[in-house]
Point group: C2
Chain length 241, copies 2
DNA sequence: GGAATAGTGTCTGTGAGACACTATTAA
DNA sequence: TTAATAGTGTCTCACAGACACTATTCC
């Protein structure tokens, strides 16, 4: 049977369909560590475990719109940039029924991150621990602010691992790193972002040269305030060319 | 309403669900050009246009398994490596009903490519033309072997564009390029693969050095046959470390 | 020997890492 | 003046592009 024949004979109601959902990895940086917003599950299944904010995709809703809807409903945020990550469709990901989930990634500046935490008391900022086989994308673990390991629901450890893998892969050659920063920032803050994401230390002069040569940084002429030492120059991100 | 409450109240049958499908981008190299396997659509919708091999995901079928099933049913191939590309879920991608499609990418060596063409007479090898804003991922066009532009069905031009974007992005730092080659190959063939995918010419000594330094190439000690000039050494791909 | 391609030696420029240095601020 | 961090000058090394050269095969 060819695809054409199959589709022609296909009765929309004849076959049972998987449910379609979205899950959101909302990442921020706290104390130089990658941090994700998690929700505690109160009921079966996986009650007591921690999960990513998620929701179902409506029949008349584009997938991206469903993701934006979850962003607004569960995290009280709007206008963040969401990037589709991967679609998870193992048979046993959810014990209730077959659910296929499209995972999205959003990077939050500190202001949005704490705004979300304030608006929804059920959200928790969990530090993401990448076992230093990080490159391989192995499962990650989540730690509460007190340092306790949080049990994760469903396959959400895999989703988090893929988010971090993607983030690390794109950090060097794209402008994703700026998404963690406020409107104005110093080169040191930018370097802190890269060091936190990659979990390494970077060479300062080399990092500055690289960033300045890309044409993504517009000097504001302003300087940071409130330091007890020489204040650093503030830059603004501008998409080059 | 929190996610937990939503899921708890969710009645599996209460909401209409999108249909879930997979579409396969099967790429090979012919005459130094990227080439995809397309199927002609005989019936409405998009009758007469060309589409990617695809099929629906069964309720008890993992998404990857559905993709492998399409690979076997529509292309007569087995054991190829499939990589999930992206999930397309616009409301109007299919005029009949809401269909969300998970796109997969497979790279075929010439032997598998022509094997598929032989087994299914409805398949066509279409040259993929990337308008040289290629980097941006703009829509691509497909050309028949005679050079005529083929009208593509649904959003399959976008899917093809994303496949090529992904392929180009991974070529430099991963081993995907070897997927186009037979068991044994020459360095010139490997360079041809890279040049075809990137649509550029590459520097020969630099390319050799880079490839040999990666430790992915095991010399076989054999040489290619049938040339009317100095035969090149044959290498085999080996995953390093 | 000629034609054609395989494969190499070497120069040069670019860019990153290392490291020490200067600059500027608050206290 | 001191402490602390911002920001720079410069050396070195790794690596890619360019180009010319040598090597090897068939005819």
């Amino acid at each position: 049977m060819t695809e054409v024949e199959f589709l022609a004979e296909y009765d929309p109601a004849a076959y049972e369909r998987p449910a379609l959902a979205v899950d959101l990895v909302l990442l921020g940086l706290r104390d130089g560590r990658l941090t994700a917003l998690l929700l505690k599950r109160e009921q079966f299944p996986h009650a007591g475990r921690w999960g990513l904010p998620g929701g179902f995709v409506g029949i008349d809703q584009p997938i991206d719109a469903a993701a934006l809807h979850v962003l607004s409903e569960k995290a009280g945020l709007a206008g963040m940039h969401l990037e589709q990550l991967y679609t998870f469709g193992a048979l046993d990901r959810d014990p209730r029924m077959r659910i296929v989930s499209v995972a999205y990634l959003a990077l939050l500046p500190e202001s949005a991150f704490s705004e979300a935490l304030e608006r929804s008391s059920s959200l928790l900022a969990a530090t993401i621990e990448v076992p230093w086989s990080g490159e391989a994308g192995g499962p990650v673990s989540a730690l509460s602010p007190k340092g306790e390991t949080l049990p994760l629901a469903f396959d959400h450890a895999d989703i988090l691992a893929m988010a971090i893998l993607r983030l690390r892969g794109k950090l060097d050659y794209s402008d994703v790193g700026f998404a963690f920063l406020p409107e104005q920032f110093t080169l040191r803050q930018l370097q802190d972002v890269h060091e936190a994401v990659l979990d390494t230390t970077l060479n300062k002069p080399a990092f500055r040269r690289r960033m300045l040569d890309r044409g993504w940084l517009a000097p504001t002429g302003l300087r940071e305030a409130g330091t007890s030492f020489r204040p650093a120059e503030l830059y603004r991100f501008q998409r080059s060319r």
